[in-house]
């Protein structure tokens, strides 16, 4: 049923339809509305056969999910940003143990300086943690991906992060089609664990493994993600058959057929990029966009095929590896081994800075002339940067960087673009 609602509530309602048995949560913006919604549904009886546990930290949240998942319960949690870092050890543990936990990540910047707004640094910090990472473009897809995620996670016995942009999606009101319980039940069978803690059949889970088998155990984690590359499109197809909507999959292309320039991005910024591309297409520019829905596993072959005939690729990334450059762009480059076109990394939208159509248009015009640096920071205020660098050059005790910058700017939280 189509419902005008907040992204968080759409996700909460959809997760509830997936019949989670244990939900554990610790509050962190911008994830809070999701778990608040679920808490209410458990309390008022809308969501039955579910334990909602208010834990004392994100580390505990993931640890409770590890315990409940290992005991055969469908387990869910949600977090963001610092919360994901705080649970990091347990994040790796959940994937290492092969526990199909589903977690919503309301993507948010990582401090210091503390910043509650959206970017993808949190997700990227865990890109090698052995979790599948699916990125939603809009609230409908955020909701839909959760249904697919439970199915996918449990078929593979691997945990999945469903990434949705904090505030931009979590707090945005859109029309979202919330499916019926019968539809979800038909798509998502009850959880049948591969391993379970049960006195009827005692097993030891999580014991030490030495050099004699560790490589093989780790390789199998990789092999399962490679299986997911086949499974994700299949499940998206089945999803379409069941729900009548095209959601999920590995990648999503838009006007790339004859494109000379292909923009690559993840998440909600794809909407703005599509609008910008529509304008440029009207002007006769051959440009298209490729959205990555499955960042882990990374759809190397699908991306390689999609960018095969273009002339250049520009990756718009909401995160970067300090000291190196783009993160997504480096993975995209591996997909272009056979057809190595120029590739540009553009770091944009950090800590909630708006990625505007004007900025994107200017960026794309520059890149189509091949006048872009290999690594660019969109809308970077060079004056502010240079003033601070100069201050540090002439003054030893130059003070806290963030405070200096804000004092120079003379405005506090007044500008997002």
């Amino acid at each position: 049923m189509l419902k005008q609602c907040e992204g968080s509530h759409a996700v909460a309602a959809t997760v509830a339809l997936c019949r989670p048995e244990v939900i554990c949560a610790y509050p962190i913006s911008p994830q809070t509305h999701i778990v608040e919604g679920l808490s209410e549904m458990v309390r008022d009886g809308t969501l039955q056969n579910c334990e909602f546990i208010n834990v004392e930290s994100e580390f505990a949240a993931m640890s409770v999910a590890i315990g409940s998942s290992a005991t055969g319960a469908r387990s869910y949690t949600a977090t963001a940003s610092q919360g994901l870092l705080f649970m990091a050890e347990a994040v790796w543990n959940a994937s290492g143990l092969g526990l199909p936990i589903v977690m919503t990540l309301a993507n948010r910047a990582i401090g210091a300086p503390i910043n509650i707004w959206n970017d993808h640094t949190d997700a990227m910090s865990m890109r090698d943690a052995g979790w599948l990472q699916l990125f939603a473009e809009n609230n409908q897809e955020a909701a839909d991906l959760h249904i697919q995620a439970f199915r996918l996670a449990e078929e593979l016995s691997l945990p999945i992060m469903v990434c949705m942009d904090g505030f931009i999606l979590t707090h945005a009101y859109e029309g979202v089609d919330i499916p019926t319980q019968a539809q979800v039940d038909a798509y998502l069978p009850p959880y049948e664990p591969r391993q379970v803690l049960d006195p009827r059949e005692p097993v030891s889970i999580g014991a030490m493994v030495g050099p004699e088998a560790f490589t093989e155990v780790r390789y199998l984690a990789h092999a399962k993600q490679m299986q997911a590359l086949k499974l994700i499109p299949q499940l998206a197809e089945e999803f379409q058959a069941q729900f009548g909507r095209d959601s999920g999959g590995l990648i999503r292309t838009y006007r790339t057929e004859d494109a000379e320039t292909v923009v690559v991005a993840l998440g909600s910024v794809l909407g703005t990029i599509k609008n910008t591309i529509d304008d440029l297409r009207e002007e006769g520019r051959k440009i298209g966009v490729l959205g990555i829905t499955s960042f882990r596993p990374f759809p190397t072959a699908a991306i390689g095929e999609a960018v095969r005939y273009c002339e250049r690729v520009v990756v718009v990334e909401k995160s970067f590896a300090v000291g190196v450059g783009g993160i997504v762009s480096r993975d995209v480059r591996t997909a272009m081994r056979e057809h190595p076109h120029p590739i540009y990394a553009v770091i944009a939208g950090l800590g909630g800075r708006a990625i505007t159509k004007d900025s994107l248009r200017q960026l794309f015009l520059t890149v189509m002339d091949d006048k872009l640096e290999a690594l660019t920071f969109l809308d970077l205020d060079w004056n502010a940067v240079n003033r601070e660098l100069e201050r540090e050059r002439i003054t030893r005790r130059s003070g806290p960087i963030a405070e200096n910058l804000l004092r120079d700017l003379g405005v506090v939280a007044a500008r997002v673009g």
């Binding site: 930290s57 315990g67 005991t71």
Partner: protein, 342 residues
Amino acid sequence: MTATIVKFYQTGTHTVGNRLLDPEHRSVQADMRRTNSLNSGHRACQGCGEALGARYAIDAAMQATDNQLIAANATGCLEVFSTPYPETSWQIPWIHSLFGNTAAVATGIAAALRVKGRTEVRVVAQGGDGGTTDIGFGCLSGMFERNDDVLYICYDNEAYMNTGVQRSSATPGAARTATTPAVGAAPGNVFGQGKNLPLIAMAHEIPYVATAIVSELRDLEAKVKRAMEIRGARYIHIFVPCPLGWGTASNQTIHIARLAKETGVFPVIAAEHGELTKVSKIRKQLPVEDYLKPQRRFAHLFSPTPNLAAIAHIQALADRNIRRFGLIDAAPVGAAAGAGDN
């Protein structure tokens, strides 16, 4: 049947003869049906107090639950010596996740059992003092605070033994560890630091808190049994000497544990909902030197010259335990001079 409880002591010891007791008072370990939950063949050191404590505790929990038990285990000696695949010693469903999250993993197990309607299956979490009083403390306190249906057992050997005997917040003052070496002006661990976790657990007002000691294994079994009669968060803190870390002879583990109790160094108590319900009395109080001298971790207190101040400090702490918990009915040794001083 009505029975008068009669205690039969062997000459020269306080050991009660098992055969002479009625069945319900007999030791779980003496029962033909004991489960050997932590089976033989594991890799613990000779004389390991933790292995002994764990075997008694888990077998007792198994008997109390009709063998319906799942255990979560922190990283540490117990985890490492019992499991390297494929040689697990555990005869029960067992999971190791991380060092600091065992109480939370157990919470998750209990939640899953509840939602699946399998409340006859009970949950034990276990870890060493490092995994309990230090790195796992947040998760433990959270589990207590929520009153989750978990029995957490801490095997306290007073340092990080698995990594090579480093100081934990359960390491006593003056003890030599690899990170509190017996050198300098104040050799060994600092006095006045550390945590008393049984008291902290009592402050959470959880249904059951107890301490136990491997020299009183009947008492340990009885406390585990009592704990399994109760739902909600429960905590048992077991004092387990470590021959390797403490520098004691492998055949002295029981003796050292007994000395810890008889000197007042380690009070053996039980509490329900934050109130003390049971105290194991000291039969004959011994001076703390008797406990300290056989342990090389305290050797610097006696040689080359006795550190009388440090020994007196440890004696004062033991005396305080005796006063605080009423461990003996008569006045403690040195109480006339020391009472009220600290």
